[in-house]
Subunit: 257 residues, 2 copies
DNA sequence: CATGATAATTAACATGGATTAGTATCTATC
DNA sequence: GATAGATACTAATCCATGTTAATTATCATG
């Protein structure tokens, strides 16, 4: 339960999780209080640290508060395939209660803040239909993103795939208020980008050069600027419909991180 | 509501849906009756017919009763990426109520029987916690399968990818009682296999030849026989853990289709 | 500021799978 | 059982991406 005397200021605060869930769901003040209470046990985790491993049966649900993490699977030969990038407001393992055992691992990419939420607390929350529905929506969008990644890896060439990934991350980051003037933190190495798209870091490098030479982006020191979003969208065949946000991407939002 | 005088014989019948959901969930007789009632409005659909298209806001949830279908996305250049094969017992679009608009299409591959279920009926059913949980489990497994496909397309070579797909379909078909002596109906053209794995039909053909020449499979006239499952599993790096079935794959089951 | 660690870049070469263009075989239909 | 349309199979060529490895840039830190 949330503390009884939650200050109003806290209610005004829009966390990434809240921003994300409000994309589609209408949430009451009490829903918001409940969501804020999830941050109670937020822990700092260093960069490149494991959050959960394949085979684990974790006691907690994990929620990204700050920083980036990746969901990945390892192959027998040591290759790694990243299947999702997790940004603030994303749950790492909403499902683990039902599936039992993790079939993949999750690790931070940057120094992060991760909220640990007891499974029972999660179950309490999902008894509220509004929150259950909001979480359900969020899971379904995750699924739609996975489908889109299959297309990216299966049918787009490297140039399109990188462009598409950048468009997706731009929209997702914008949705939680973390884009400023077409610019956002993208703390990924070229190898990590390659591990997400089934490419080598060498080839990712080639593609990035081309994206820069065509004046579509700047990308240095973990900051990505998209100079011409429409052109990038077109060059990569990006259509944001699968992210299921009603808001127009270009509408400025007043979300504060 | 199920008919009040459902004959007992019907209760004994194990449909693919029931077989699948019982993999993990314990279901009461009433749950089963409710599930059987979903088949009330089952319609025949010819091969290669659209079930839903991208952009649709369907009135019904669709459930595969017989036959095969595919979930796919089309690219601007006309390329197609299949993101899932749907077999009996699979829901096509459990999510559409919440996401609103389809971000991909679904079409039959063979002549099929598809149950049409009113959205309101679905909502009634999910008020039963046992069924809500069973559906939730099924959605999460679908998500795990998507992750696995990303690995398949992103990191495995064509030979491994085809082998991996065959292993997955073998386990899924076995789970709903449609495998007989390591042999099951796989009514996919080489082009459809390619569209699922990001390969051309020409290359799929080469891979199939190799799988045959290594005595791993037979595949003709829509029937796949896996001669050496363990070897195929090994050659393709298949690990069934992501399908989250407790049952051992090799345990014979008594399910009748 | 020297030291190492990590990441980005470049280059030379190798290759898996695409492309194209067939031929052969199957299946359905009249 | 003749015909047409799908599907399966084969072969030659090409290119996007992988591989390997060396060089440079960037970053953290004692």
């Amino acid at each position: 339960m949330a503390a009884p005397l939650e200050p109003l200021a806290d209610r005004a605060l829009v966390t990434p999780l809240l921003a994300k869930l409000q994309t589609r769901a209408r949430l009451s003040d009490q829903d918001r209080d409940n969501l804020h209470s999830l941050y109670a046990d937020a822990r700092e985790i260093g960069a490149r640290r494991s959050i959960i491993r394949e085979g684990d049966r974790p006691e907690h649900v994990h929620l990204m508060v700050e920083g980036w993490a990746a969901r990945y699977k390892l192959l027998p030969d040591g290759d790694r395939q990243i299947t999702a990038f997790l940004i603030p407001g994303d749950f790492c393992d909403l499902h683990v209660t039902i599936l039992g055992e993790m079939d993949h691992g999750i690790a931070t990419l940057t120094r992060s803040k991760v909220a640990f939420i007891a499974r029972t607390r999660m179950e309490e929350l999902t008894e509220r239909p509004s929150l259950a529905k909001a979480f359900w929506w969020s899971t379904l969008v995750d699924e739609a993103v996975l489908r889109s990644w299959i297309v990216n890896v299966g049918r787009r060439d490297a140039f399109e795939a990188v462009g598409h990934l950048f468009c997706e991350l731009y929209v997702r980051m914008k949705n939680i208020g973390l884009v400023d003037h077409h610019r956002f933190e993208l703390p990924l190495t070229q190898e990590e980008i390659g591990d997400a798209l089934g490419l080598t870091s060498v080839h990712v490098n080639r593609v990035l050069q081309r994206l820069r030479s065509e004046d579509l982006i700047s990308f240095r020191q973990g900051l990505l600027t998209i100079h011409d979003y429409r052109a990038l969208e077109k060059a990569s065949g990006f259509n944001p419909n699968y992210l299921h946000m009603d808001r127009r991407v270009d509408t400025p939002t007043s979300i504060k991180p």
